[in-house]
C-alpha cells in the first residue's frame, strides 16, 4: 500500500456525435513512490486519456485514480507534464519558459533561487548558455529538453510524459534517455511515461504496462529489474532481448484483440 499513483478499475468514455466512445474499461495501474512506469499500447487505445486522468484534467466515469492514497478530483500543482509537442511559449526566452510553472504554483523560493534552480536544470540537460534564446532558435531535441526542465522546475511529485521523445531522431532520443536517467538520479519524482518505443520503455522504466486495444484495460505488467542508471549496452543483453520479445508479443495480442472486436470497429 505504498503506491504513490494508484489507479483501480477505471472506466472512461468520451461523448462523441455518434454516442459515447468507451476508451478505458478496467484499467489498473500502480506506481510506487520514486518508481518509473512506462505505458505502451496500440495507437489510439487511450494512453493520453490515462495521463489526463492522472493529472486531474478529467475525472473518470467509474473507478478511482489516487495520488498518495487520496482520490484525484482536480488538477494539482504537484504534477509536471511534458508532451510530444514541447509547447514552449515563443514570446518568452528559454529561461522564462522554464520558470512558467513557478508563476502559477505557490513556492517558497525567492526569485534568485528560482532562477538558480531553473539554470541548474538547464545545465543538467545540456542547455547551459541557451537560457536567453528563443524557442525557435533551438533544435527539436533542445526544445524537448527545455520542456522537461519546465515540467520539473516546481519539484513535482509526479512527472507525466506523453511520448516526449516520439518526434525526435534516434540519436537525439538516446541522448535524452540518458538525460532522463540523470534527472531521475537527482530529482525525486515518480514517473509515468507513455511511449510507442519498447526499447525506450525497458531502458527508462522499472515497470512496463501493456494496455489492450481500445477500450483499454491493463493487459500485462512487466517488471524490469532495475539497479540505478543504465547504459545503452543494457538493451543488448539476453535478458533485455527476452523482455522486448515478450512486450512485442503482448502488443501483438492487444492489436489482434482490437481487430477481433467487430462491434468496436463498427463504432469507430
Amino acid at each position: 500500500m505504498n503506491a504513490l499513483i494508484d489507479i483501480r478499475d477505471v472506466h472512461h468514455a468520451y461523448a462523441t456525435s455518434s454516442g459515447p466512445l468507451p476508451v478505458l474499461a478496467g484499467l489498473d495501474l500502480s506506481v510506487r513512490e520514486g518508481g518509473f512506469t512506462a505505458v505502451v499500447g496500440p495507437s489510439g487505445c487511450g494512453k493520453s486519456t490515462l495521463t489526463r486522468l492522472v493529472a486531474g484534467l478529467m475525472i473518470p466515469d467509474r473507478g478511482t485514480v489516487s495520488l498518495h492514497g487520496e482520490p484525484v478530483t482536480s488538477p494539482r500543482s504537484t504534477v509536471g507534464m511534458a508532451f510530444q509537442n514541447p509547447v514552449l511559449l515563443e514570446w518568452r526566452t528559454i529561461l522564462q519558459n522554464v520558470l512558467l510553472p513557478l508563476e502559477i504554483v505557490p513556492t517558497r523560493l525567492s526569485r534568485s533561487q528560482q532562477q538558480e534552480r531553473a539554470l541548474s536544470l538547464l545545465e543538467l540537460v545540456g542547455l547551459a548558455g541557451f537560457e536567453d534564446k528563443r524557442p525557435s532558435e533551438l533544435s527539436g531535441g533542445m526544445r524537448q529538453r527545455a520542456s522537461l526542465c519546465r515540467a520539473l522546475v516546481h519539484q513535482p511529485d509526479v512527472l507525466i510524459l506523453d511520448e516526449p521523445f516520439g518526434a525526435l531522431d534516434a540519436f537525439t532520443r538516446e541522448d535524452l534517455w540518458q538525460i532522463m536517467h540523470e534527472l531521475k538520479a537527482r530529482e525525486p519524482f515518480t514517473g509515468v511515461l507513455i511511449t510507442h518505443d519498447l526499447r525506450e520503455s525497458i531502458f527508462l522504466a522499472d515497470q512496463v504496462v501493456v494496455l489492450s486495444g481500445r477500450p483499454a484495460r491493463t493487459q500485462y505488467v512487466l517488471d524490469v529489474p532495475s539497479d540505478g542508471p543504465r547504459d545503452l549496452d543494457m538493451l543488448y543483453t539476453p535478458e533485455s532481448v527476452e523482455m522486448l520479445a515478450t512486450l512485442r508479443r503482448e502488443i501483438q495480442i492487444a492489436r489482434e484483440g482490437e481487430s477481433a472486436d467487430p462491434a468496436e470497429n463498427a463504432r469507430s
Binding site: A55, G56, P75, V79, M81, F83, L89, E90, W91, I104
Partner: protein
C-alpha cells in the same frame, strides 16, 4: 537603418518624377490631372487648412479604431471561447460586414443629423471592427489544447491561462488584423466626411475643392490622405514590433 529610410525615399522621388513626366508628356491640363509641381502652391496656400482638417480626420479615425479594438476584441473573445456564440454571431457579423459601407454612410448621416463627429467615428468603427473580431476569435479557438493543459494541470484559473498564454499567442494575429483595420477606419472616416454636408476633415476639404473646381487642391488632398494613411499604418507596425516583435522571423 539609414538604408531602410533611403530606399523608400528614392522610390517616392521616382514615383513623383514619373507622375510629372506623364502629365508633361501628355500635356494634360491641371483639371484633368494635376502634376506634383501644381500641388506645391496648393499646399503652401492652404497649409493651415491642411493641418486643422488633417487633425480632424486623424483623431476621428483613431477614436473609431480604438472603439473597434475594444468591441472587436470582446466579440473575438466571446466567439473564441464559446462554440455556441461563434455559431450564433459569425453569420451575423459576416452579413453586417458584407453590406457596402457606402450605403450605410448616408443612412447614418440621416439618422444622427448634425452629429458629425459622432457619425464619422461611428462609421470608422463599423467598417473596421470585423477583421479584429475574426482574428481574435480564430487566434483563441485554434490554441492547441496542450498549451492550456500545461497551465491547467498546475491548477491555473481560466483567467491566468488567458493572460499568460491565449492573449500573447493571439497578438500577432491581432496586429495583422489591426493593420487592415487602420486602413479601413481611415476610409470610413473619409467617406463620412465627403458625404456629410458641412463636414470637416480632409474628406470635406476634398469635397469643397471639387465644388470649387480647384483641381490641384483635390490632388493635394489625396497626397495628404496618403501621407496620413502611411503614418497611421506605421504607428501600428511600430506597436506590433514592441508588443509582438517575437513573432517576427529574424531575416536569415
Amino acid at each position: 537603418m539609414s538604408r531602410k529610410l533611403f530606399v523608400p525615399l528614392i522610390a517616392f522621388a521616382v514615383f513623383l518624377a514619373l507622375w510629372e513626366l506623364l502629365v508633361w508628356a501628355n500635356d494634360w491640363p491641371n483639371y484633368k490631372m494635376a502634376s506634383p509641381t501644381d500641388l506645391v502652391p496648393a499646399f503652401v496656400k492652404y497649409w493651415e487648412l491642411f493641418l486643422s482638417m488633417g487633425w480632424q480626420t486623424l483623431w476621428r479615425t483613431v477614436v473609431g479604431l480604438l472603439l473597434a479594438v475594444v468591441v472587436g476584441v470582446l466579440l473575438g473573445m466571446v466567439m473564441g471561447f464559446s462554440r455556441t456564440m461563434r455559431d450564433a454571431l459569425y453569420p451575423l457579423l459576416v452579413g453586417f460586414n458584407a453590406v457596402p459601407k457606402a450605403t450605410v454612410v448616408p443612412i447614418v448621416a440621416l439618422l444622427f443629423v448634425g452629429a458629425h463627429d459622432f457619425n464619422t467615428v461611428l462609421i470608422a468603427f463599423m467598417i473596421s471592427f470585423f477583421p479584429i473580431a475574426v482574428s481574435v476569435s480564430i487566434g483563441l479557438s485554434t490554441l492547441e489544447p496542450e498549451y492550456r493543459d500545461i497551465l491547467r494541470s498546475l491548477g491555473a484559473s481560466q483567467f491566468t491561462i488567458f493572460r499568460k498564454i491565449a492573449l500573447p499567442k493571439t497578438l500577432p494575429e491581432f496586429f495583422g488584423a489591426l493593420k487592415v483595420a487602420v486602413t479601413l477606419a481611415f476610409i470610413g472616416t473619409n467617406l463620412m466626411e465627403i458625404v456629410s454636408p458641412h463636414g470637416r476633415g480632409l474628406g470635406a476639404l476634398f469635397d469643397s475643392a471639387k465644388t470649387n473646381s480647384d483641381y490641384p487642391l483635390m490632388f493635394a488632398v489625396l497626397i495628404a490622405l496618403a501621407f496620413l494613411g502611411i503614418v497611421l499604418y506605421y504607428v501600428v507596425v511600430a506597436l506590433e514590433s514592441i508588443f509582438a516583435g517575437w513573432a517576427e522571423r529574424s531575416p536569415s
